[in-house]
């Protein structure tokens, strides 16, 4: 069962590493403004998640106590919710821009 968890963690780390690269590249393409600020927050959160993903296999390997694992899970829930909040903000701004471009 542990090997399946390691496999999933490795796949998650790989995908998240690509996300970090994409997010940094896109940040350079965005000049600034409200969308730029939100994207900076998203980039920070993606980098934070990436660090968390890197640590997650260690949690299995070193058999972290349940209390710490619970904290990690709910921290991911919280930051995930913040992430979604900012994604929705960027989508709303983008829709506003598309309305202008019409």
């Amino acid at each position: 069962m542990d090997w399946l968890a390691y496999g999933l963690a490795a796949a998650a780390i790989l995908v998240m590493a690509l996300n970090v690269v994409q997010a940094i590249r896109l940040r350079r393409a965005i000049v600034g403004g409200e969308v730029g600020t939100k994207w900076s927050v998203l980039t920070f959160l993606i980098a934070f998640f990436f660090l968390g993903y890197l640590v997650s296999p260690l949690a299995i390997w070193f058999r972290f106590p349940k209390e710490i694992l619970d904290l990690m899970v709910f921290a991911v829930f919280l930051f995930g919710a913040v992430f979604v909040w900012f994604v929705i903000g960027i989508i709303r701004d983008t829709l506003a821009f598309l309305k202008l471009a019409k």
Binding site: V31, G32, G33, L100
Partner: protein
């Protein structure tokens, strides 16, 4: 009075160590006289005069006979002085002696005033329409990022209501994708042009 004596007066400024060149322009953005080395593109200088002439804040700050503006940058400094309804702009390096430059500019301004108002060789143009002024402000404020905003302005209809809407859209675009403070400033300038 033609621009030639003014040009000769400006040439005298060039003798001051550290001074790169001088430009005399009026409120319509017309270059009345220029004394810059050939490496400075004349169209670029005309564009600069046009943008400053169209800038409401610049006109407001530089109103009055003793108006002065000094801008300091890493690569050079710019001094602007009011001269009887027009402005003298001097580009100089950090090596220029500030006191000597100030005295020289005072002398040059005195000579320009004594020579009388300069006129450009072109007939006086009618005030630019609001759309043109909006374009100039947007280009000056957004620089290389102005393309999308100019498209919005170009697509606007001729009615004042359409221009107000286009100006609001440009402000929103700037706020979303470029800079919030710049959006506020741009919005104020565009509303000043549109009289609201």
């Amino acid at each position: 009075m033609t621009a030639a004596p003014h040009g000769e007066t400006l040439q005298q400024l060039g003798a001051v160590p550290g001074v790169v060149g001088g430009l005399l322009f009026d409120g319509r953005g017309e270059v009345l006289a220029s004394a810059f080395p050939p490496v400075f593109d004349a169209a670029g200088l005309r564009g600069l005069a046009g943008r400053l002439g169209a800038d409401g804040y610049f006109q407001e700050w530089m109103a009055g006979e003793n108006a002065a503006l000094d801008l300091r940058y890493q690569d050079g400094n710019v001094a602007v002085r009011a001269v009887d309804g027009s402005w003298l702009l001097v580009l100089y390096t950090a090596q220029a002696n500030a006191q000597l430059l100030s005295m020289s500019m005072t002398q040059v301004i005195r000579r320009l005033r004594a020579a009388g108002p300069a006129r450009s060789s072109e007939p006086p143009a009618a005030p630019a329409p609001p759309l043109e002024r909006l374009r100039a402000v947007v280009t000056a404020e957004l620089g290389g990022h102005a393309a999308q905003a100019l498209e919005i302005l170009n697509a606007a209809g001729p009615k004042p209501r359409d221009l107000f809407q286009a100006a609001a859209d440009v402000e929103k675009l700037t706020r979303l994708f470029i800079d919030r403070k710049k959006a506020d400033e741009l919005g104020r300038k565009m509303r000043a042009i549109l009289g609201k």
